[in-house]
Subunit: 402 residues, 2 copies
């Protein structure tokens, strides 16, 4: 008798695994054997910093109330949805969005999953812009969709021709992530307008809408002078997926939302909102965590302080420049996506020998790169900078032996 | 151009909808037109009572800490998993379970979904005991599984012969829910031992294990003198799925766990636990809400006070008896599952005209019944009792005209 417990396809996923997870485990091993202080682990995008004081104060206030902890409507508390709608209007994300077009979700991952579940019939295609967050593939395939990749250009900007080339009669949606994990690129308004024009024309030509799913949890972590332009605001048939995981450093709390562009074309809003709420329930999320919804409603205006990211970014940029590494200057996020100065696998291996943990570009669908996350304590960043220089020297030494 | 937004199968689910949801909406309409006090809504199983004081105190303590809100391992905080393991050992659910066999989840719905995702290959079958919680079908089908129903006997006890008859070479698991929603039945040890013997024999005969998935969020809401026997403790190849939604009245917070029977047969525990944790992430749950994990770790021993349920149960039982309704006396939960004294659809309609909202048995896979939930305020219960008597008299009057 076989004792097969785990389904074969799951065991295969697990064993082939994501490099990020392997890195994580390798990191634990290296830290155990060399001491945590000796390892510069820049592999995980997990901001573990203090949330904004407004959030922490709201949390204490809400916890002290003898409030309700029961189910609310699957879309979330009406007053919380109303608060998010106000915020989105105030900050000009949308023009006159109302709370009935907001669904509170279990983080952005929950948001993306209920949107995909609502939109996708078996075999329909979702165009994902590569490099991309590795979990997107799981999300699309979980809802019987098919991922088609469209590479960005070398500066990680949208390549409209490649996106056009990836569209077929089965295309149901395009997923974009701006600011982008791993590249840090923020798509410009003009770039997004070209995308919107393409999707409008292709929707018209093919006789059914192609939707835009915009994943934007990094939008407050920006280093440019220009205001952020939400992709979901530029194209009417858009779903905005957001979470406070990155901006508030509360990724463990699983709180986010879907906001639907109020100009989306439908003659049945009730069906659309109802289906998203139904999927929230039937996928097992049920509703976004009750307490966090209330805390967010009281702290949504909190200022996001990115000064520490800015400093770490400058440190790393200096080290990368000194080491002669090539990278496209990121506009946002807490990542650098850097060209490997030798074969990717060799570089990752070399870095690991130096006790520097980074994620190979292959994991994001763009081989020949590595991702650095600077959502890490400053001493770790400083250690990593020294290691990057050592590694660069070592490679240079091998290339040009004395 | 069509403006189809929602996928056809989702629109169909939504439109055909669950009767519970239709009831909910009908309830809102009736309350709006007749006044909330005039409607006895016993349709929803949503306990909206004060959580135990230990929980509320722990919540305030944890909220006041400047703690972490970042991602933790996808399986949950090690210390929280350890606390649950201790609890399960102390209360003799398992003999020597360790924290590595516990995965913290987004409620029991999250727990069931990651177990099904981990176990099921496309087309594999899950036997569900009917009457059953309507969402089970969504959960199984979301992971490409096929539901096969096995009816209980007329007392809502397990019918081992029917379960045996439902087993095929494709059977991957049996799902049980004790205490049962909607029947309130708790399966006895002897009944569970027969089930275990059947599954052991069939696993042996067919050369692959058949798993037991035990959904037991109602296990503290018990009115019998016998201690609860967890189905997951009686059969080794079992997954226990639990949430504090019902016991602590915190269904909105989405906190629960999977505990794997430590005697489960596998030669690769790492693969099994890793796959469950991976599914937690890839299905979009990522991890159970961080703050609630910590609160639960500090309040898991809280006493669950069911005295108010006991009182409401007695009120309803009296009314049902006085009205001549037929029902199998429930052992637990906050439900009665009652035979309709006329055609189900007529009865539900008649009840609605009396402003009494209950859920038809058809929604649980057992036509000819209706479910009453007494997770409602006492005045609502008292109102419902009067309405049940009025309805019984009305039906009797129609049957035997004066």
């Amino acid at each position: 008798m076989t004792d097969r417990v785990v389904a074969e396809h799951i065991a295969r996923y697990f064993t082939s695994g994501s490099a990020i997870r392997r890195m994580f485990e390798e990191g634990l091993r290296l830290k155990a054997s060399h001491g945590a202080d000796a390892v510069a682990d820049l592999s995980i995008g997990n901001p573990d910093f203090d949330p904004p004081p407004e959030f922490l104060e709201a949390l204490q206030r809400v916890a002290a109330l003898k409030g309700h902890h029961a189910y609310m409507p699957n879309a979330g508390y009406p007053h919380v949805r109303g608060r998010i709608a106000d915020y989105l209007n105030q900050h000009r994300y949308f023009d006159g969005i109302t709370r009935d077009k907001i669904i509170m979700t279990t983080g952005a991952a929950g948001a993306l999953n209920i949107v995909l579940a609502t939109l996708l019939a078996r075999g329909e295609e979702v165009i994902v812009i590569a490099p991309y967050f590795v979990e997107y593939r799981f999300y699309v395939e979980a809802h019987a969709g098919v991922v088609r990749l469209a590479d960005t250009d070398d500066h990680f900007d949208l390549d409209i021709d490649r996106i056009a080339g990836a569209i077929t009669d089965k295309t149901r949606a395009v997923m974009v992530n701006s600011p982008n994990n791993p590249s840090g690129r923020v798509y410009s308004r003009s770039s997004l307008e070209k995308l919107a024009a393409l999707l409008t024309a292709e929707s018209e030509r093919r006789g059914h809408p192609i939707f835009l799913i915009s994943d934007e949890p990094y939008r407050e972590i920006l280093y440019t002078d220009e205001a952020f332009v939400s992709p979901a605001s530029v194209y009417r048939n858009s779903f905005m997926c957001y979470s406070w995981s990155k901006s508030f450093s509360i990724s463990g709390e699983r709180i986010g939302y879907v906001a639907i562009n109020p100009s989306l074309q439908t003659d049945d809003w009730g069906l659309l909102i109802g289906s998203l709420a139904m999927c929230n329930r039937s996928l097992g999320f049920v509703n976004a965590p009750a307490l966090m919804q209330k805390v967010i409603a009281e702290s949504v205006d909190a200022r996001v302080d990115i000064s520490h990211y800015r400093e770490k970014r400058e440190l790393l940029r200096q080290a990368l420049d000194d080491g002669g590494f090539e990278y496209a200057d990121p506009d946002g996020t807490f990542y650098f996506f850097v060209r490997t100065p030798e074969a990717e696998v060799d570089f990752i291996d070399r870095a690991r020998k130096h006790l520097l943990l980074v994620v190979p570009g292959t994991d994001f669908g763009r081989p020949g790169y590595f991702r650095i996350s600077y959502a890490a304590p400053r001493p770790t960043i400083e250690l990593a900078c020294r290691k990057l220089l050592d590694i660069a020297k070592e490679i240079a030494g091998e290339k040009v032996p004395a």
